[in-house]
Subunit: 446 residues, 2 copies
């Protein structure tokens, strides 16, 4: 079987390079690190996420007979090389920051140490998995910071980029502080709380809106959030008031209404007034539709009486910047530090560590160092896999989420703002600068 | 087994609505249509793509015992409803425009006609699949139009949003006119031509750049495209010239070099000069790095001597607008046309057809009509599935790609430009306007 998310989900050049490594007997240990070169314009920090899926991938990566056969037949590779892939497994080491860790430009969040063929072949999928969840968690965290104390739920599955993007965006946004998601499979796989109401089609399929509300309430007596904007939002709210007494007599409380179109602040105020004057003060107002951190901030700034938000598309596609300038770069081969010097893409060589130093409980500065320095502070990069096996089971997602919230609390206030802040200080150690100079001297003379 | 891309890859509200349909005995036929409400600011047209994956999904959708069990245990659904899903299959009809069809705002590209529970439950995945490929094909077509006659290859897998996004972006960009992709699995599954060279890590892992080039050439004597910007682009080009004679004596021709950083136009000119004066006039120059349609246009406008381009991240995340304002809306239930009137989101009711009218071989205007009108022109929406079965095998991807190219040729010149053009005329028929008014009258009085 040729799997859509198997070992062939890689760039062709990984395999062409592997054939040459094979031909030349290049089997030494390589060290690659994943980092982001530059933060997007409207991000003051990033949140690391996706390590769990990377480790799952590395633990289980293999090649099927059909995939081997395809490689042998595709006309690009020699048989002796293809045969050498038959028992491909990842047997290397991984060091990484915990999921949910705040990080900044140039700071590695994952290090792979393995025979070069292994470390090279997994590059594409590692970037593919780490970028997506880091991108989404970082955007989602901004939504959480924009609406403190509010219920925020991921509604983005339908406009995410394919199945995996939808599923992993639900996970990443939950880590960042969303309370849940509409994506059922994320609830089934990871016990992420699920939220959902009804669609306009449900109202339209009924002869009357009031009839649709009543059918839904009787079918879901303990959880009937009502969508009220299919035809006329305020008329919808009045239908709810008219129905509420009747339902209450049967023991059914409508918990909330949802508004999904128009001027959300204006509608929310009118709906709130209709509900309150109709004796429905306990029914909450939930809003959705083209929301992101900026819209959340605006709605709260004008005092819109909205209790919760469904945030979808713009969050889980990270719509203002849907990618990270990230890379997985060779830092060492056969015991020697390596460095790329391409313009605008130069890297710090060798194995690195990040130390986070705090003052009064607030993050003060980071030190980017070699792995044999101890400048003080918390060392963020820790061993997670040795010889292809995880060192410990993954922490529960709920714990990752709690740890993330604590980290957001410790960010300097300027970084927590939606507006661009001066860059958080990341100090490159003298020893690392000297190492870079030494590598340059060696490779320039080569 | 709970599948990551199975029936639970849906929004919770689909299932809550289904329980109510079940409770109320609402089993009549529903008609849903998928369309884009509004084109993104920098798109003069869209290219429909993703139908193949939608049909695959509808033909094979079912629920596993473990998924049923999870639904029964999750505390939200009654047993009689969950039991009713056990033999869930899609038995409805699909009418759609062919993949690769140019389309505009408000024009349906897919219609589902099925019992309402079926048509509703598949909504999330249908949008998820159609949006992604339509988004990517539409962006990729702009790249193709910006660089006519040039080799353009998808390099975006690593920064696409997950596995499925990477795979399907390779497919969508190929439909739009890209010549191939770096994503190996897309070659293995669909025979899309594969392209790939080497990474900077390959050069860095060697003691010298020249040594890396020679190793690669001997390992890939018929296809050794060389990446020359790891340390110093022009020095890299000189290494190629020095090596070319030696390789030629062994029957190895270097087909191309790749530049991936810095000022691509400037480097390309210098590299071209070094190659030409070194007797390597037949070696082509390939460029990559942060490219999109605008950068392609700039590079060609300044006459950069570049023969081919690797276009990744910005194309396959559709970075300037990574989502479509698309919807899958109920248009008819139990034989009666339906319409949503939410502000800014009103829809045209009933089953619709799009007729495309040409003048001198160039698209002139579209007519959006009911399905019982014949205003002349080509009817774009055709039957593709009946009672859950496809009416014909899918056309080969190569044919879809050729048809797409012919459609791009027939677009008015202003729409083919990268700059925003006046909207292509889509005329709503009088009969459709009357139908909308009739629905409004009926639902207002309800």
């Amino acid at each position: 079987m040729i799997r859509r998310d198997g070992i062939l989900l890689t760039d062709l050049y990984q395999l062409t390079m592997l054939q040459t490594y094979h031909d030349c007997g290049m089997t030494s240990t390589a060290v690659f690190e994943f980092f982001v070169r530059k933060l997007p314009p409207n991000r003051n920090f990033l949140i690391a996420a996706g390590l769990e899926q990377v480790l799952e991938y590395l633990e289980s990566v293999f090649i099927t007979p059909e995939e081997l056969d395809w490689l042998a037949r595709c006309g690009r590779f020699r048989k002796d090389f293809v045969d050498s892939l038959a028992d491909f497994r990842f047997t290397g080491d991984v060091d990484a920051v915990a999921e949910g860790t705040v990080f900044f430009a140039d700071e590695p969040i994952l290090r792979v140490t393995a025979p070069i063929m292994q470390a090279q072949l997994v590059e594409t999928r590692i970037i593919n998995l780490l970028q997506l969840q880091t991108l989404v968690a970082s955007k989602a965290a901004r939504c959480v910071l924009a609406a403190p104390g509010k219920l925020i739920v991921d509604f983005g599955l339908r406009r995410s980029h394919g199945a995996e993007a939808g599923l992993l965006a639900a996970r990443a946004s939950y880590i960042a502080g969303f309370q849940g998601t509409s994506a059922v499979v994320a609830g089934a796989l990871w016990d992420i709380p699920l939220y959902g109401t009804m669609a306009h089609s449900f109202i339209q399929a009924h002869e009357s809106e009031a009839g649709a509300f009543e059918d839904f309430a009787r079918s879901h007596p303990t959880n009937c959030v009502m969508l009220i904007d299919t035809y006329d939002t305020e008329a919808g709210a009045r239908h709810i008031v008219q129905l509420a007494d009747k339902l209450r007599r049967d023991g059914i409380e409508v918990p909330a209404v949802r508004i999904d179109s128009g001027d959300l602040a204006d509608h929310a105020r009118k709906v709130r007034a209709i509900l309150d004057s109709g004796g429905c003060g306990r029914i909450r107002v939930f809003a959705s539709g083209n929301l992101d951190e900026y819209r959340l901030r605006e709605l709260l700034a004008v005092g819109a009486p909205i209790d919760g938000f469904g945030v979808g598309t713009r969050m889980n596609t990270s719509a203002d910047h849907p990618y990270l300038d990230c890379a997985y770069k060779l830092q060492e081969y056969a015991g020697q530090p390596r460095r790329k010097r391409s313009e605008g893409k130069a890297t710090w060589p060798g194995r690195k560590q990040v130390f986070r130093q705090s003052a009064n409980g607030i993050y003060h500065r980071d030190m980017l160092t070699t792995t044999d320095e101890e400048p003080g502070g918390e060392a963020l990069i820790v061993p997670v896999m040795r010889e292809g096996r995880r060192l410990a089971p993954s922490p529960p997602l709920k714990k990752v989420r709690d740890d993330t919230a604590r980290q957001l609390d410790r960010l300097p206030a300027a970084l927590r703002s939606l507006d661009p802040a001066p860059a958080y200080p990341v100090i490159v150690s003298d020893k690392l600068r000297q190492a870079a100079a030494a590598v340059d001297l060696r490779t320039r003379s080569a």
